[in-house]
Amino acid sequence: MGKEKRIYMRIGVLGILLIALVFAIYSSISKPGLLKVGDEAPNFSLKDREDKNVTLADLKGKTVILNFWGTWCEPCRNEMPALEKIYQKYKSDDVVVIGLNVGEAKLTAEQFIRQVEVTFPIWFDSRKEVTKRYSVGKMPTTYFIDKDGVIRVIKTGEMTERVMEQLLSETKQ
C-alpha cells in the first residue's frame, strides 16, 4: 500500500471513530426531550375552570408565565399572592399568568383556588401529560415564555415578587 494511501486510510478510520466517540458522549449526557432555554415551548391542550378546551398556542403574541403547582406544595401556595399581583400589574401589557394544576381532582384544586383568591387562569393537567412533557419534577416550577413562544427562563422553586419582576423583564426583552 502506498504511503499516502495508508495515511488517508488511517485518517479516515480515526475520523469515523472520533465521530463515534463524540456521539457516544453526547447521547449519554443529553436527555432528549428535556426542554431548555431557547426551545420552542411545546403546544398542549387542557381544560380551564369553565371546562373549555384551551391551548398554549391560543396565547401566542402574549408573554406567558406558566406556573406548575399543586395543593400539597407549600411553596406553591406561598407564591400565589405574588403571582396574582404580577398578573394584575401586567395584564394590560399582554402578559398572562397561567397556573397549571398538576394532576389533582378539580374539586381539590378549586377549593384551594378559592382560598388563595387568585384570578389568573387556572388550567388542569389532570393526566399530568404536560407536566411530563415539561419535565417538571420539583415544584413549583415556572416557565417564562416570550411573545413568540420561546422559552426564556425555567425557574424551579418559590419566587418572590421581585424575582418574578426580574425574570419577567428578562423575558420581555
Binding site: R6, R10, A24, I29, L107, K132
Partner: protein, 555 residues
C-alpha cells in the same frame, strides 16, 4: 524509493519483514546468528511486516500506534474494570428508592446516608457513573482499540495465511520450537519415512501441501481467525449499543397505571388502560416441602396486569382528549411483556389495596324507621362535586383532601395526591325542605356539624380498593444487531480457544530428514502428537523436545 528487501532465495520482501515470505529464512540475522537456534525470531504473523511497527513519524501514525498497542488496550481494560467496581460501592442514583428530584436532594441523600464518604462519592460524580462522559469515553476507547488493533493485524495475517507456507530454508525449521532431526539414514529409508509420516498425518486429519523434499501438514488454520471474528462481534455489539443513543431507536420510561385508568405511553401515540391487576400467591399445597415460614408470610407466584393498548388517532397534543382505537389486549406478567409495534410494556412494580372510592349509605334520621335513603360513592381520584341520592337528597362535596394533615397555620391541607388519608367535607341537603347539614369524614370517622342530634348520618361500608401497576415502557430497535454481535463474538471465542492451528513440516536435505512443528496454542498437545508420530515411526519418545526459545521473548 522502494521499500523491499531481497532474500537469497530470490524473493523481495516489504520492509519490516522478519521471515522471508517465500522460503522462511530469517532476514535480519547474520549467518553466525543463524547457527544459534535461540535467536530465531517470533513466529507471530509468520514473520510478516506489521505496518504500525514500521511507521511512526506523523501524528496520525502516532495515534494509530497508540490504539493498536495491546499494552494500552490492557491498561484501558483495567482502568475500566477498577472504575466499574468503584461504582458498586454505594448504590447508583438510579437504584435509590427515595425520589431524588434535584441535585440538592441527591447530595443530601448521599451525605445523609453515608456520611463524608457519601458526600465525596457524590461530588466525584460516582453516583451516576455509568452514563458519565468519562466512563463512556473509557468504553469508547475500548471500542476504538478493538477496531484499530484488529485492522492493524488482520491484513498481515490474511496475507500470511493466504497460501500455505511450506518454507524451504533449513534455518526456518531449525528455529522452530519443535524441531526433531530424525535418526534415519539411507535414501530408501528416508523415502519410506517420508511416506509413512505423510500417511499418518493424513489419517490424523492434516491437510498435506507440497511435494518432494518439503512437506507441510496443516490442521485448524481457520482457528487463527477466531480472535478477529470475536473482535468484529464485539465491535458490532458496541455499534448497536452506540446507535441506541439515537432517540428514534430507544425508548425507556416508567408509568403507574391504576386499575380502570387509561394513561398515555410517553414517546408514543399509544395509550394503555389497566383492566385489572392481581398478585397470585402459592397455595399451601404448592410448596414442595415444609418451609417453616412465619405466620402470614407468603411467596408470590405471579404478578399480572391485564391491559388494553389504544392508539390515539388525534395529533397527540399533550393534555388533549385522545381519540382512541383499541389495537391490542392482553396480560402482562413478569418475564412476559406485551408488545405492539416494537413498544413493549413490562410488569415491574405494584401498589396494592389503595383506596379508590369511599362507600357510604345516607340515612335520614327524621324519616320513619331511620330509613336508608341510598348509596353515596365518592371517587377519591375524581370526585364529583354533587351526588344525587334518592329522590330528594343531594350530597355536595365542599372540601376534599386526599392525604389530610393539619397545616402549620391550623389550616387543613393535603400531603400529596394519593388518597392515603382522605378527608371529605360535605353538606347534605334535603331538596324538598332545603334543610342542610354539614358533616366531615376524616381519619375513618365523622365530625358532625350538629353534634348532638344530627339529622343525616352516613354509614360506612368497605371502600373500593384498587391496585396500581408500575410498568416499564421499552423500545429497542438495536437489539437484533446487539444480539448478532454477541453471537459472532461467541463464535470467534470458540474458534480461537477450542481449536488451534497446528503445522508439522517434514523436510529432507543433504541425506537427513527433519521434522519441525508449530502451533499457536497448546504446545502440550502438539508435543503429544509428535510423541504419537515417533511411536508410529518406531522411534523413541525422547526425541521430542519442545524448546523454550519463544517463551521469554517479549512480543
Amino acid at each position: 524509493m522502494s521499500d523491499d528487501r531481497k532474500c537469497e532465495c530470490g524473493h523481495t520482501n516489504p520492509i519490516g519483514t522478519v521471515l522471508c515470505e517465500s522460503c522462511g529464512k530469517p532476514l535480519l540475522m547474520t549467518d553466525a546468528e543463524l547457527e544459534e537456534a535461540d535467536n530465531f525470531p517470533s513466529m507471530r504473523y509468520e514473520g510478516m511486516a506489521r505496518r504500525s511497527k514500521t511507521y511512526s513519524r506523523k501524528l496520525v501514525d502516532k495515534v494509530w500506534n497508540f490504539f493498536s498497542s495491546v499494552k494500552i488496550a490492557v491498561i484501558i481494560i483495567i482502568i475500566t474494570l477498577v472504575m466499574a467496581s468503584v461504582g458498586t460501592i454505594l448504590p447508583q442514583k438510579m437504584y435509590v428508592q427515595v425520589p431524588l428530584l434535584d441535585e440538592q436532594m441527591t447530595r443530601d441523600y448521599y451525605s445523609g446516608t453515608y456520611g463524608l464518604f457519601g458526600d465525596i462519592y457524590y461530588l466525584l460524580g460516582f453516583h451516576e457513573m455509568y452514563n458519565s462522559w468519562w466512563f463512556v469515553t473509557l468504553m469508547a476507547m475500548i471500542g476504538i482499540s478493538l477496531v484499530i488493533c484488529s485492522l492493524d493485524r488482520i491484513i498481515p495475517l490474511y496475507k500470511a495465511l493466504r497460501k500455505p507456507r511450506i518454507n524451504q530454508h533449513l534455518a526456518f525449521y531449525r528455529g522452530q520450537r519443535l524441531f526433531i532431526p530424525l535418526p534415519v539414514e539411507g535414501a530408501k529409508e528416508l523415502d519410506a519415512t517420508m511416506d509413512q509420516t505423510k500417511g499418518w498425518l493424513k489419517k490424523r486429519g492434516y491437510k498435506i501441501f507440497g511435494e518432494g523434499t518439503s512437506i507441510l501438514a496443516e490442521k485448524g488454520r481457520i482457528s487463527r481467525w477466531g480472535p478477529y471474528i470475536n473482535h468484529v462481534g464485539l465491535i458490532v455489539f458496541l455499534l448497536g449499543v452506540l446507535l441506541r443513543g439515537v432517540p428514534a431507536f430507544h425508548i425507556e420510561e416508567f408509568i403507574w397505571v391504576r386499575e380502570g385508568q387509561t394513561v398515555s405511553i410517553p414517546g408514543t401515540k399509544l395509550f394503555v388502560k389497566n383492566l385489572e391487576y392481581k398478585t397470585e400467591y402459592y397455595a399451601e399445597d404448592e410448596y414442595v416441602e415444609e418451609l417453616g415460614m412465619k405466620e402470614g408470610m407468603v411467596i408470590p407466584k405471579n404478578f399480572q396486569t391485564d391491559v388494553i393498548i389504544y392508539k390515539n388517532e388525534n395529533e397527540n397534543l399533550p393534555g388533549a382528549e385522545p381519540n382512541l382505537t383499541q389495537v391490542k389486549e392482553g396480560p402482562i406478567t413478569v418475564n412476559h411483556p406485551i408488545t405492539y409495534q416494537g413498544i413493549s410494556l413490562f410488569q415491574l412494580d405494584r401498589r396494592e389495596q389503595i383506596l379508590g372510592a369511599l362507600n357510604f349509605t345516607l340515612i335520614d334520621m327524621d324519616s320513619p324507621d331511620s330509613k336508608e335513603i341510598g348509596e353515596v360513592k365518592i371517587d377519591l381520584f375524581d370526585p364529583s362535586s354533587e351526588i344525587k341520592v334518592g329522590e330528594n337528597y343531594v350530597v355536595r362535596i365542599l372540601d376534599y383532601f386526599p392525604d389530610y394533615q393539619m397545616g402549620t397555620d391550623n389550616r387543613p391541607q393535603t400531603k400529596g395526591v394519593l388518597p392515603n388519608n382522605p378527608m371529605v367535607a360535605m353538606e347534605i341537603v334535603d331538596t324538598k325542605t332545603n334543610v342542610l347539614e354539614r358533616v366531615a369524614y376524616v381519619a375513618g370517622g365523622f365530625v358532625q356539624q350538629n353534634e348532638n342530634t344530627p339529622r343525616f348520618q352516613l354509614a360506612t361500608h368497605m371502600p373500593d380498593l384498587i391496585d396500581s401497576s408500575g410498568l416499564i415502557v421499552r423500545k429497542d430497535t438495536m437489539l437484533p444487531l446487539i444480539l448478532f454481535g454477541a453471537i459472532v463474538s461467541m463464535i470467534g471465542l470458540v474458534m480461537g480457544f477450542y481449536w488451534n492451528h497446528r503445522r508439522i513440516w517434514i523436510h529432507m536435505e543433504a541425506g537427513r530428514i527433519y521434522v519441525a512443528g508449530h502451533t499457536n496454542k497448546n504446545w502440550f498437545g502438539l508435543k503429544q502428537e509428535a510423541k504419537f508420530l515417533m511411536k508410529h515411526l518406531n522411534l523413541s519418545n525422547d526425541l521430542v523436545a519442545v524448546q523454550d526459545k519463544d517463551k521469554k521473548k517479549n512480543t
